[in-house]
Amino acid sequence: MIQVSNEGPKFVVADVTITEANLSNSDQFKAELVSLLDQHKKIIILDLQELKYVDSAFLGALVSALKYAISQKLDIVLVGLRNDIRDLIKLIRLDKVFKIYNYPEEAQFAVNKF
């Protein structure tokens, strides 16, 4: 469901490989994300370009994983969002807590400056 595609000193780029993220896979998604944080101890740049459908259960899992990342003094950064998923995130104001970039390279540049 999540595959590491690139790694730098401060970050890991992780690609979400599913197209539908909803109630049926949100628990597994959160578990994989938390495991990735534990394993690498780096900021996760989560590439969501394959995702076409998300629901509130997925967004809840994402927030829960971000809480864990923050507690570990890490972060989860979002890239590659479709317009409608970005609009949904803005609708419930989660763009105030997630850093969002268009492309992984843009996020890597920003993360390296942290």
Binding site: L23, S24, D55, S56, V63, K67, L91, I92, V97
Partner: protein
């Protein structure tokens, strides 16, 4: 809603595997009937997130029976109604006699309210929170279903129909 409104009924079997195909079927119906004077992108985005959350709610709460969707559309309104025979929403029994508006959830990003219009009829409302109150990321809530529908709709209500033991969620979008 005018008498010339187009109507459709769709029965969802509450299985997660059929969530996307059910969503696409209902969105297709709406897309074909959206009036020419309306921005289709806006209506389809709002319809998509609303129907997704209603389907997810069906999977979580509607039990073994199917969930019925009624969609009505005319030149002025889009109405999406979801009916199921699951247990009534917990809010039905929590009306406070002195106060008809109750805060359901709040964090620095959003507040969500239930407003009782009668004992078994609730309207939802939301407000943006103040980021000045942001003390800890731990405060951010993790349940967004009702909030997403409330924000996307012009009106979102819930009715517990005692006679038929049905939950009725009704969402209205004005064109």
């Amino acid at each position: 809603m005018q008498s010339s409104a187009e109507k459709m009924v769709f029965n969802f079997d509450n299985s997660a595997e059929k969530l996307v195909s059910s969503l696409e079927y209902m969105l297709g119906y709406i897309a074909e009937r959206t009036p020419a004077h309306v921005d289709p992108e806006d209506i389809l985005f709002r319809s998509k997130v609303i129907i997704t959350e209603l389907l997810t709610n069906g999977i979580k709460h509607a039990g073994k029976d199917h969930t019925r969707f009624d969609i009505e559309i005319d030149n002025e309104l889009l109405v999406i109604r979801k009916t199921d025979s699951g247990s009534p929403l917990y809010l039905v029994n929590s009306r406070q006699t002195a106060e008809d508006k109750k805060l359901i959830s709040a964090d620095p990003l959003n507040s969500l309210f239930a407003i009782w219009e009668s004992d078994n009829h609730i309207r939802f409302a939301s407000e943006e929170g103040s980021l000045d109150d942001f003390l800890s990321f731990e405060q951010v809530m993790e349940h967004f279903g009702i909030l997403i529908i409330t924000r996307s709709a012009d009106e979102f209500t819930y009715t517990w129909d005692k006679e038929t033991s049905s939950n009725i969620f009704r969402v209205q979008i004005k064109f």
